[in-house]
């Protein structure tokens, strides 16, 4: 793993989880895999840090976890986006766009 890894900005993990769940419900490992894949491997998050984030989002009511059975018949917790989670995602997305646009602007100006 010789790739450079971007440091996770505070809060971006939340945004990515919400975005990932926008496409449908997933279990914890699935979420981490999807993020890894869609970030083309650049964002290798410490997989363990996903769980506190999941529980925090669940506590805030943005995602809901439900126990179900995996195809192999194992008990597995599936997370899905809630209505308020969807709203939160839209908000964070807008904030993020504004933020990254601003940063880009600054970088290109120099």
């Amino acid at each position: 793993m010789g790739k450079r890894k971007a440091d996770l900005l505070q809060g971006t993990l939340d945004l990515m989880i919400l975005k990932t769940l926008r496409q449908g419900s997933l279990h914890g490992w699935g979420i981490s895999k999807r993020i890894r894949e869609t970030s083309r491997g650049v964002l290798e998050i410490r997989q363990g840090s996903l769980y506190p984030a999941l529980y925090r989002l669940e506590d805030r009511g943005w995602i809901a976890g439900e126990e179900g059975l995996s195809p192999e018949g194992r008990k597995v917790k599936q997370y899905s986006l809630t209505r308020s989670g969807r709203k939160q995602l839209a908000e964070e997305r807008a904030t993020w766009s504004a933020f990254s646009a601003a940063v880009n602007h600054v970088l290109e100006a120099t």
């Binding site: 981490s32 895999k33 410490r46 363990g48 840090s49 769980y51 506190p52 008990k75 308020s84």
Partner: protein, 896 residues
């Protein structure tokens, strides 16, 4: 997809998760394990060896336990869990210090109980809305004439109001009386009210069944009746078909047209605690009353028009009445000072009880404040002894906030327990107070622990708990850690540490003085009241009320003959010393006055004519009631109809109208054409405090029942109160009294059978209730203040045990050791009492109007209370100090 959990509040979800905590923990472990396994599988699929895959999976995951811990915090249940731990720990800690804990709970609980109990009354009586729709818009119309500040309305005036108060949305008038209901079962004596057609709409109340009076029924005096809810329930079993049925009232057939709701009570009934059983049309005809504007007996009520202010209402009524004084100058002489105004109905109903109730609540709040100071004081005391414990915990890394939270948790548990105790005390106290049965406090019977009162109580309990618990909590954590640790095992005699507690004790004593002075003043006032010369002797007197119905007693001599024979028979009963009858029983009912013209006197222009509260009596009354004859003779058997008219006057009457002269033999003519017309003063008796022990007797006169005839109906008085003086317990004669009346007339309802002692006692039960409560509060205050003093001294002394032990070992006497300690506390006590006295001088003035015959700055009270309280406080200090120095120096020195 999403369960109901999504829609719950954050804390709701947290609680739910907390409840299934084991479940969540298991889920989390399972989730992490699954994650690791899948990662492993994926890595193996990419070609890694199982061992390497496992290693990589753990590596990319990071510290499993660290993330688990982070996850637990992310649950958001951490705070709740900690709180639960704090509570459990608090309960254990409090249990370990059972004695001081129960003292705390008892202190706060008693203070709360007093406050909540009284608040229950204030809520029931003052804060609950009156049983009328939009009660703020209802006003009573009151008229002033002579020294009568809230006089009634005469029928002619009533008709004028009915015509002229068109800006008001409703106006009506009514009056009270009693009627007999015949029919199945015993004849029943009913409280009746006669109302004009506008009165019930003015109260904004509709019948639960049927309708109210129409204007035609009112003016035509139709035989229709509206039943009160209680009568409908008790007599007619809430029959829905009662409307349209007929009932026999006053030997006439009435058709029931409606039933009032259970909540409906006329304002006067609210004040007196009675209830009108049946409502009848007022039935006054204008033509009967033309020219008579002087017979004031109606209560006027009106409802403000839309957007009408109280000022406008007053102005409108004043304008109407001002018109009369111009139109009818003969009826409203300038000397009468006649004027009409309005008064909000709430003021009419609650005006007299507001101050006593707020006074009680004020006293209760003072007790609560004192209890709170004591709690803070006791908590500071225990905090002192726990300094080391906290110092150790702080040095081991406990956060300061955590320790404060834990102390607050203890306080909350205490507050909860105190709140429960407070409710119990309040419930018991409410019963006790109701047992004292103070009359003339409207709606008191409905007082008790309802939802709002319980809320108030627990709210107060927690506010008090947090407030008084916070002081010690902050003082502990602010302490110098290293000093506390260094002092571990060695108690020092720091002066500053006790300063806060001494201030608290001083505050307790100051509040104690306030409450005690209040109790002292009201006790003295009550004694004065009971020492009042009533003009009668209430010992061993039985009274009862009867009335001869006009259907069967047609002629005057039938009425007077009935009472003559009845009182003679009663006087002949074994055990009866004397028997008589009087129209209005003193200390129980009001009195009407009657004007008269003294022969040979000319009333100067513009001066009011002489008048006196009148009574009709039978000859036996003076001895039965124990009146004192000052001069002349009492009414005798010779004063019969046809004989020359006799009258006995009260001392005030004699002094007012015959100042310096001799009224005996003077003659005057009764006003309004009342019989027997001209009467001769035959005697003077001592005044009777008819309207209450605290009310100065007015001019009074007694007319023979056999001679008097009413000015309006020309009849003898039908309703009389029988009065029996007995040899022993008056209530033992109730049976004989009933039998004797029944022998003469089995149809006659008898009511209000009670001893004169009860009547007297009831007339003073409001001041007695106030006094009893304040005395209870003051005992509580003194006890709490004593506990406070004891606590401080015990603490001071115990922290200096070592020093005392050394001094004793070196040969000091116990006295020499204690004296300086007591001297120090003496200063605290003096400070507190001095402040309290200053406060008492101010506060006492606000209750001065409730005192009778005692000035607010009563010297005896202001001297004895501080001395007494100081003695109690110093005794408590002495006992606490004494206990500590009695310890054997050997033991004390070795124990550290």
């Amino acid at each position: 997809m999403t369960g109901p959990v999504e829609y719950m509040s954050k804390w709701g979800r947290r609680l739910l998760r907390l409840a299934g905590r084991g479940d969540v923990e298991r889920q989390m472990t399972e989730e992490v394990r699954l994650h690791l396994e899948m990662e492993e599988k994926e890595l193996i699929a990419r070609g890694l060896s199982p061992e390497e895959a496992r290693r990589q999976a753990y590596l990319t995951f990071g510290g499993v336990e660290r993330y688990k811990e982070q996850s637990r915090e992310a649950f958001g249940t951490r705070a709740l869990e900690d709180f639960g731990k704090d509570l459990r720990f608090a309960v254990r800690t409090l249990w370990r210090r059972r004695l001081s804990s129960s003292l705390l709970v008892a202190t706060l609980g008693l203070g709360l109980g007093a406050t909540v109990g009284i608040y229950g009354f204030v809520h029931a009586v003052l804060l609950r809305p009156l049983p009328y729709a939009d009660a703020e818009g209802i006003v009573r119309i009151v008229q002033r004439y002579g020294d009568n500040e809230d006089g009634h309305i005469s029928p002619s005036e009533h008709f004028d109001y009915e015509r002229q108060l068109e800006d008001f949305s409703a106006y009506g008038s009514y009056t009270f009386g009693t009627v007999t209901l015949a029919g199945d079962g015993d004849p029943l004596r009913l409280q009746a009210a006669w109302l004009s057609h506008g009165a019930i709409p003015a109260f904004g109340v509709s019948p639960v069944l049927g309708r109210t009076f129409s204007q035609e029924e009112d003016l035509g005096d139709a035989h229709v009746a509206i039943l009160g809810n209680a009568l409908w329930r008790d007599r007619y079993g809430e029959r829905a078909d009662i409307v349209g049925q007929t009932v026999r009232i006053a030997d006439t057939t009435f058709t029931v047209i409606g039933v009032m709701p259970a909540s409906f009570v006329l304002p006067e009934d609210l004040v007196s605690g009675s209830r009108s059983d049946v409502l009848l049309p007022l039935g006054l005809r204008p033509e009967d009353w033309t020219g008579n504007r002087g017979s004031h007996f109606l209560e006027g009520v009106a409802r403000l028009g839309a957007a009408m202010s109280q000022d406008q209402a007053r102005h409108t009524v004043a304008t109407v009445s001002a018109g009369w004084t111009e139109t009818f100058p003969d009826d409203y002489s300038a000397s009468m000072g006649f004027a009409a105004t309005t008064r909000p109905i709430a003021q009419v109903v609650l005006g007299d009880v507001r101050q006593p109730l707020w006074t009680m609540l004020g006293a209760a709040l003072l007790v609560l404040l004192l209890a709170g100071a004591n709690v803070a004081n006791l908590l500071l005391g225990t905090a002192e002894s726990r300094r080391q414990e906290f110092a150790v915990r702080l040095s081991l890394g406990a956060r300061r906030g955590r320790i404060i939270r834990q102390i607050l948790a203890e306080t909350l548990v205490l507050a909860l327990l105190a709140g429960i105790l407070g409710m119990v005390v309040a419930a018991g106290g409410t019963r006790l107070l109701l047992a004292l049965d103070p009359p003339n406090i409207p709606r008191l019977d409905s007082a008790g622990l309802n939802f709002s009162v319980v809320w108030f109580g627990f709210g107060l309990s927690f506010v008090a708990g947090i407030l008084f618990g916070l002081v010690p909590a902050l003082s502990i954590s602010a302490r110098n850690l290293s000093r506390d640790l260094k002092n571990a095992g060695r108690a020092v005699s720091g002066g500053g540490r006790h300063r806060v507690r001494r201030l608290l004790v001083a505050a307790e004593l100051a509040i104690g003085v306030l409450v005690l002075v209040g109790a002292g003043l009201f006790t003295r006032s009550f004694q004065r009241l009971m020492d009042t010369d009533t003009g009668l002797d209430a010992d061993q007197v039985l009274t009862a009320r009867i009335s001869t119905p006009d259907s069967r007693y047609l002629e005057d001599d039938e009425i007077t003959g009935f009472y003559r024979e009845l009182t003679e028979r009663l006087a002949g009963l074994p055990g009866v010393v004397a028997a008589g009858a009087i129209k209005n029983l003193p200390l129980a009912t009001g009195l009407g006055d009657l004007n008269f013209r003294i022969e040979g006197h000319v009333v100067p222009e513009g001066q009011p004519s002489p008048r006196a509260d009148w009574q009709t009596v039978t000859p036996g009354y003076k001895e039965a009631m124990g009146l004192t004859l000052v001069r002349g003779r009492w009414i005798g058997a010779e004063d019969v109809a046809g004989a020359s008219g006799a009258v006995v006057i009260g001392e005030t009457t004699a002094a007012t109208y015959w100042p310096g002269g001799d009224p005996i033999g003077a003659r005057f003519v009764l006003g309004g054409g009342a019989g027997p017309g001209t009467v001769t003063v035959v005697g003077i008796v001592r005044d009777v405090t008819h309207e209450g022990l605290d009310i100065q007797a007015k001019t009074q006169m007694y007319l023979p029942h056999e001679q008097f005839r009413g000015w309006n109906d020309g009849e003898a008085v039908r309703g009389m109160n029988l009065v029996l003086r007995t040899e022993s317990d008056p209530l033992a004669l109730v049976g004989q009294l009933r039998n004797t009346i029944r022998e003469m007339d089995s149809q006659l309802p008898i009511s209000d059978i009670e001893s004169m002692e009860e009547v007297l006692s009831r007339s003073v039960s409001q001041p007695r209730t106030l006094m009893t409560l304040l005395v209870l509060f003051s005992l509580l205050s003194a006890t709490l203040a004593a506990i406070g003093v004891y606590g401080v001294v015990a603490n001071v002394v115990s922290s200096r045990t070592r020093e005392f032990a050394i001094r004793k070992a070196l040969g000091a006497q116990a006295r020499q050791v204690i004296a300086p300690v007591l001297q120090r506390e003496l200063k605290t006590v003096a400070l507190g009492i001095a402040v309290g006295l200053l406060g008492a001088l101010v506060v006492a003035r606000t209750v001065a109007s409730l005192l009778h015959g005692v000035p607010a700055n009563d010297l005896l009270t202001l001297v004895s209370v501080p001395l007494g309280l100081a003695a109690v406080a110093l005794l408590a200090a002495f006992v606490a100090a004494q206990r500590a120095v009695r310890i054997d120096p050997n033991i004390a020195l070795r124990s550290e």
